[in-house]
């Protein structure tokens, strides 16, 4: 429930051992480094930053270049545990850059070839488009019409001119078909686009093109032309794919080398990052940071070993201030929840990081979130579908935590579905606990105890009171641990707030129990609600005077105003927080109602004998899909909202900072 106990380490080592120390810190990966500040003048004169011999930025930029190359072939490198941690010199990084330059140049050349092939494709596609747009009017008469956009020419060139002709025509969307040969001549059918005709004519002149009468029987070439274009396009597309593959292979070819460089650079970056927190004097290096208490012994031993005991280490408890850091340098929070709870920890950290020493609500959120979701989306069949979607999501998607959350939610819906007797919106089996369907339709007997919508609302309100009560209890624990006695007694989230809340619940219960006709006796009301209300008045003046401020008459008006506002916030706040949980019932009822509506429509579409028709099945399936998507999303969001706004706000400030040691696994 609480984050791991932390301890601060302050150390001094001899300068020559600084690299060895860095290696230990990186390998152990348990120290959350802290910048040293608040150095007094005499210290500032003697202490300076540790500067690496090679620019860290240069290493980072080079590593990022490799990152992008490897990402393009789908590889995400990682530093192996047995990596040799060492400093780099400039020439090594230059060498890596030259290596990357060569690869990118090669890839660039392949891309240029790809572009050329692609432009060829475009040319042929252009002809194809023109043919599709205007039709291939292949008979000579039609081609002479001004509305045709294709030029068809038959002519001959000498065989020796053919390669030149083909080469020159490459710039144009044009097709040449050989239709015969005679002596040194080759007879050609040239198809080009009319808009290029002027320029093509120049080429024809250059290669000695001699026009031949367009034969009437040319029509049989129509198939050849279209087929030829398609054939060429297929060939070129194949070439394009080959080139794409070639570019990919070019990077794959050096993947091993690139990964090796990446590891070297990344390790060096992390090495520099650790040293960036060091301060050095002429002969020594100083450092400080936080680590989990449980890791203290191992780290201590490793540092002593690496420095041959030539070091000074001081261990300070989290509660003790340290002069060489910023005043607000409180211990970071390391959450320690089982891996199974990861999705819920994600929900918590999304709201904020618990302050060090306060309660981490993750295990409770597992219960509250899933209960809320289950109550709102109680259906065993649909729950299993959601769980299945979660399992599938874990396999194929990169959002693993979200997928795991789906699995949890699915199982919760299944359990509540069994309790409430709902299977794909149908009451196929007897409910184990509550006949939700029966209650919503009004078909449940009074014998069961719970037989109306109000009973469902009552369950959710009691649930809400429990959640809010738990939130208040957590707040008291946090305040006690942080020794905030004033807030513990007089704050609206403290004992006084709890008193008002409990009194409010009792009063409301009393009223309902007496058929909304009478309130508790006046003396009880005065004691239950009046007295704490008056005590709230003490809060501001006590706070004011405890800070030693000077009182003036108008301040009294301030006190009264603040008191009134506080009372309004306390009373209306707790009331609305509690009633807010009625949405759980609301969504649960809406879920059942929607499924009933789809089941009614499906029944209306059933066959005359009452059996299911295809349409009825389709409506039933569609209804289930729609409800799973819409209601599932809605229940998920509402459960989150209730946790964030009705539960967390009672005790969770989210002002902590996450424990993030620099290790070989550090990602960013």
């Amino acid at each position: 429930m609480f984050s791991r106990a932390m301890i601060r380490l302050f150390g001094i080592v001899i300068e020559r051992d600084a690299d060895a120390l860095t290696r230990v810190l990186l390998r152990q990966g348990v120290l959350h480094m802290v910048e040293m500040a608040n150095l007094n003048e005499s210290l500032i004169e003697h202490l300076m930053d540790v500067q690496p011999q090679v620019s860290r930025t240069k290493a980072t930029e080079t590593r990022k270049r490799i990152d992008h190359l490897l990402a393009s072939i789908g590889i995400t490198p990682a530093i192996p545990e047995n990596v040799k941690i060492q400093a780099l010199d400039e020439s090594v990084i230059d060498g890596h850059n030259a290596f990357i330059d060569k690869i990118t140049r090669d890839v660039e050349n392949i891309r240029t070839r790809q572009q050329m092939v692609h432009r060829e494709i475009l040319k042929f596609k252009d002809i194809q488009n023109q043919v599709q747009l205007y039709g291939l009017q292949i008979n000579p008469q039609a081609l002479k019409s001004r509305h045709s956009f294709i030029n068809l020419n038959v002519g001959r060139v000498t065989k020796s001119h053919l390669p030149e002709f083909e080469n020159k025509l490459k710039e144009f969307p044009a097709v040449i078909l050989t239709i015969g040969e005679e002596d040194e001549y080759v007879f050609l059918l040239l198809i080009s686009i009319k808009r290029d005709w002027e320029l093509i004519q120049n080429i024809l002149t250059q290669v000695g093109w001699q026009s031949v009468e367009l034969p009437d029987q040319l029509d049989h070439h129509r198939g050849d032309i279209i087929g030829d274009i398609e054939e060429k396009l297929a060939y070129l597309n194949g070439e394009l794919e080959k080139l794409e593959e070639e570019a990919h292979s070019r990077i794959v070819r050096d993947e091993k080398q690139l990964t090796e460089f990446w590891i070297r650079l990344r390790t060096f970056e992390l090495f520099c990052r650790v040293q960036a927190y060091f301060k050095k004097s002429k002969r020594t290096v100083l450092f400080t940071g936080w680590l989990p208490l449980a890791k203290k012994d191992v780290l201590e031993e490793e540092i002593y070993k690496a420095t041959n005991n030539n070091c000074y280490l001081e261990w300070l408890p989290a509660s003790k201030p340290f002069v060489l850091v910023q005043d607000n340098d409180t211990a970071p929070t390391q959450l320690s929840n089982p891996k199974l709870f990861e999705p819920f920890q994600m929900l918590v950290t999304n709201y904020g990081i618990p302050q060090y020493g306060t309660i981490d609500p993750t295990p409770v959120v597992v219960l509250t979130y899933l209960s809320m979701f289950g109550l709102m989306f109680a259906d065993a069949g649909q729950g299993l579908v959601i769980a299945l979607a979660g399992f599938l999501g874990r396999k194929i998607s990169k959002f693993k935590k979200l997928a795991t959350l789906l699995i949890w939610c699915g199982f919760s819906a299944t359990v509540f579905g069994i309790l409430f007797g709902s299977y794909f919106g149908m009451p196929w089996f007897r409910p184990v606990w509550l006949d939700f369907h029966g209650i919503v339709t009004g078909h449940v007997s009074a014998e069961g105890g719970m037989n109306g919508i109000f009973d469902i609302l009552k369950i959710t309100v009691i649930f809400g009171i429990s959640v809010i009560g738990l939130g208040l209890a957590f707040n008291w624990i946090n305040l006690i641990r942080r020794r905030k006695w004033f807030e513990l007694l007089l704050d609206r989230g403290g004992f006084l707030g709890g008193w008002v809340y409990a009194a409010g619940i009792y009063t409301a219960w009393y009223l309902v129990d007496h058929d909304y006709r009478s309130l508790p006796p006046t003396f009880s009301l005065v004691g239950l609600l009046g007295l704490p209300a008056l005590l709230f008045f003490l809060k501001e003046p006590l706070h004011f005077f405890s800070r030693g401020k000077k009182f003036y008459a108008m301040k009294l008006v301030d006190f009264i105003m603040e008191w009134i506002v506080e009372l309004l916030e306390v009373f209306s706040g707790y009331l609305s927080n509690t009633l807010s949980f009625m949405r759980v019932a609301g969504l649960g009822i809406a879920h059942v109602s929607l499924m009933m509506a789809f089941s009614t429509i499906a029944r209306m579409l059933s066959g005359p004998d009452g059996g299911f028709s295809v349409w009825a099945i389709l409506v039933f399936i569609f209804g289930n899909i729609l409800v799973i998507l819409l209601e599932g999303l809605s229940a998920g969001i509402q459960a989150l909202r209730l946790n964030y706004y009705e539960f967390f706000t009672k005790f969770f400030h989210g002002t902590g900072r996450l424990f993030s040691p620099i290790s070989l696994k550090t990602k960013d």
Binding site: A71, S72, R105, Q115, K123, Q130, F172, L240, E244
Partner: protein, 355 residues
């Protein structure tokens, strides 16, 4: 209030989600440091420009990648338009016309190169967007046209037909598309302003400010072109300016064009509306580079200040659509500039100065 929420809640959520994915300055810094086009493209992975990377990897063709990106953006606006009706529908249509006019200008430029300048346009037609953006325009037929009259006939069902017929004599006589292109641009702004004129309240105020500042910027860009490239006399330059700029009225622009100290003219306007810009103006006062160019940079900053103001204000207005349009256009322009600079090996420092 409820009407505003009904009208803009969905669009607001959709566009804000997209805005959150816009590229940061750090990203631009990173992409500017790349040495080859392939490297620059690789950085686009997992951004809203992924489509460019995918196309580039398949074809090696930067222009095709740009086309794919443009189609994606047009697709987004067409989709947004589906969720709107009435005046707002017309405004998004007016914004879409920007893409259509650019596409039409490209088609006519190709026709012009082929017909008037007798240049091969080879496969360039493939980079045109052939799908309907707003009006049904047969771009391929325009490419294949033999004369302006033919183009005019293809555009007969669009508002551009009048522009073509009015400017045709100048184009044919001067063998330049200047008059036609500027008239098309002016049409875009006239049409947009007309549609915005039907708005009221907060929508109108936001639209006036944003589009007004954009017009200021466009006017300055044109003035620089008119003066430095076309050497137009002041009266001709003034004829092409768009009315309804926000900070720069016609007389200010006239004085600026004539060589008056633009900083003196601007100080009272910008200084009172945009805190921080006076310092920027002062910083540039003694520099020798063209003051209109500096003014362009300053107005760009003004535009982004307006965008920021609207985005941090009341969310349910037409402002979000206009802001997205401005920011996205700017982002696309920057990325295209950087990629092209990379392709043609232009030094990153030079590019940094113009993006």
């Amino acid at each position: 209030m409820i009407r505003d929420v009904n009208r803009y809640a969905f669009i607001n959520a959709k566009l804000r989600a997209r805005l959150s994915k816009m590229l940061t300055d750090t990203f631009f810094d990173q992409i500017l440091r790349t040495k080859t086009l392939s490297e620059a493209m690789a950085i686009l992975k997992n951004t809203s420009f992924t489509v460019m990377l995918e196309t580039y990897e398949k074809t090696g063709d930067l222009k095709m990648a740009e086309k794919e990106l443009l189609e994606q953006e047009i697709g987004l606006f067409v989709e947004i338009r589906k969720y709107l009706k009435g005046d707002n529908w017309h405004i998004v249509t007016a914004l879409l016309i920007r893409f259509e006019i650019d596409n039409l200008k490209n088609a006519i430029r190709l026709f012009f190169d082929k017909t008037i300048r007798s240049r091969s346009i080879m496969d360039l037609g493939s980079y045109l967007i052939t799908d309907t953006i707003v009006h049904d325009i047969p771009y391929v037929r325009i490419l294949n046209a033999e004369s302006f009259n033919e183009i005019e006939s293809y555009l007969s069902d669009t508002p551009y037909v009048k522009i073509i017929s009015d400017t045709k004599p100048f184009v044919e006589q001067k063998k330049s598309l200047f008059d036609l292109e500027i008239e098309l641009d002016l049409f875009y702004y006239r049409n947009l302003l007309e549609k915005l004129g039907k708005l009221s309240g907060r929508d109108r105020n936001n639209a006036d400010r944003l589009v007004g500042v954009e017009i200021d910027l466009q006017n300055i860009v044109w003035l620089i072109r008119f003066r430095d490239f076309y050497k137009f006399p002041p009266e001709r330059a003034m004829r092409y300016l768009i009315a309804r700029g926000y900070n720069l009225k016609k007389d200010t622009l006239e004085k600026a064009y004539a060589g008056s100290d633009i900083f003196v003219l601007l100080k009272p306007v910008l200084g009172s509306n945009y805190s921080g810009l006076s310092t920027l103006l002062a910083a540039h006062e003694n520099r020798q580079i063209s003051r209109l160019v500096i003014l362009e940079q300053i107005l760009e900053k003004v535009l982004f200040m307006e965008v920021k103001r609207i985005l941090s204000g009341y969310p349910f207005t037409i402002g979000i659509i206009l802001c997205y349009f401005i920011l996205k256009s700017n982002e696309m322009r920057k990325i295209k500039t950087i990629l092209n600079a990379n392709k043609y090996k232009i030094a990153s420092e030079r590019v940094r100065g113009i993006i």
